[in-house]
């Protein structure tokens, strides 16, 4: 199973994402933003970082990179795509996911372990979880506040497009609460067909006990192996 990881100028977490793919049992394939060809991969991960220095808007210029035209075309045909943090911003800017990510409401960069509730355990990237499962993965962003018009948020909720939500504050747990002011505590959403998923928290940083707060993040990368086989 070949999972592509795209590197843009300014990507930071491409190496960790590739490592998570490998630990999950997949074969990571390095992809370069300026290429046109997806090298026949079975799925694609857009990693975190600060592509193009977040110039213009976070993810805006990366969304217009040559390789993204191929990603958008293939995603419309069902290619599983996961956008993490800056990758989520890129997917929203590319029009593959609804809404937008804006400056955190408190204006601070927030870096901590974060509790999430998995609300959709049937997307290409979340079948390893159970619906309602609570997981802990790191979150680290300065422009992670998910926004959309109220009518669009109602529609997304009605269609069950919220994949993960920040858990409400649990006193003493240290991992709860909305870290950035996102509308309705939304941490991640999916496309209508459940093949494209974007989230601000970083599952690729929670794949082994030595370096992460949990191994919960691995589930995103094991899920897609099953999704590709099933497709």
């Amino acid at each position: 199973m070949r999972i592509g990881v795209i590197t843009f100028p300014g990507s930071l977490d491409d190496v960790d994402a590739a490592r998570a793919v490998r630990l999950a049992g997949g074969e990571p394939v390095a992809l370069w933003h300026a290429d046109d060809d997806l090298s026949g991969v079975d799925a694609v991960v857009l990693p975190g970082g600060f592509s193009y220095g977040d110039y213009l808007r976070a993810g805006a210029i990366a969304a217009r990179a040559p390789l993204m035209r191929s990603v958008v075309d293939r995603a419309h045909a069902g290619l599983p795509v996961l956008g993490i943090c800056n990758g989520f911003q890129v997917l929203c800017e590319a029009g593959l996911l609804p809404g937008a990510l804006t400056r955190n409401s408190h204006l601070h960069f927030r870096n901590r372990d974060q509790g999430l509730t998995v609300e959709r355990a049937d997307t290409a990237w979340t079948t390893s979880f159970t619906q309602g499962q609570q997981i802990v993965v790191p979150v680290k962003n300065g422009e992670g506040r998910y926004v959309a018009a109220d009518a669009d948020l109602d529609r997304l909720e009605g269609e069950g497009r919220v994949v993960v939500r920040y858990v409400s504050t649990t006193p003493g747990s240290g991992v709860g609460g909305n870290p950035n002011g996102s509308s309705r505590d939304i941490a991640g959403v999916t496309s209508a067909d459940g093949r494209v998923v974007g989230l601000m928290p970083h599952p690729e940083h929670a794949v082994e006990a030595l370096t992460g707060p949990s191994e919960d993040g691995l589930g995103f990368f094991t899920s897609v192996l099953t999704a590709v086989v099933a497709a």
């Binding site: 929203c92 800017e93 609804p98 809404g99 937008a100 804006t102 400056r103 409401s105 926004v147 959309a148």
Partner: protein
């Protein structure tokens, strides 16, 4: 559609009149939609209050782009540039300011 005269930004690469001959200056202003909260604008407003400028009721922060284009501006093309790249229509409003003659 707002219009403004060219020649207001002299110096640099520009001729004495402000812009190069055969080059038009187009300005694009981008600001968050009213329903999207603007924490940066609110921070500026807070600073103004601390400086004693208590009469300022609201601040909205945006972006200001100055484009120099060859020949007469193609309004349709510039509108596309403004609405598909310079602004994100999900969260931002955009205004195109073309030069007068």
């Amino acid at each position: 559609m707002h219009r403004r005269s060219t020649g207001q930004c002299g110096g640099g690469r520009s001729s004495g009149a402000g812009t190069l001959v055969g080059v038009s200056q187009v300005v694009v202003d981008v600001v968050l939609k009213p329903e999207i909260s603007d924490p940066q604008g609110q921070a500026v407003l807070g600073a103004l209050g601390r400086l004693g400028h208590t009469g300022v009721r609201s601040v909205r922060q945006g972006k200001h782009f100055v484009l120099e284009v060859d020949g007469d501006p193609d309004v349709a093309e510039l509108r596309q540039i403004a609405e598909t790249l310079l602004a994100n229509p999900v969260i931002e409003d955009v205004e195109l300011h073309l030069p007068t003659d």
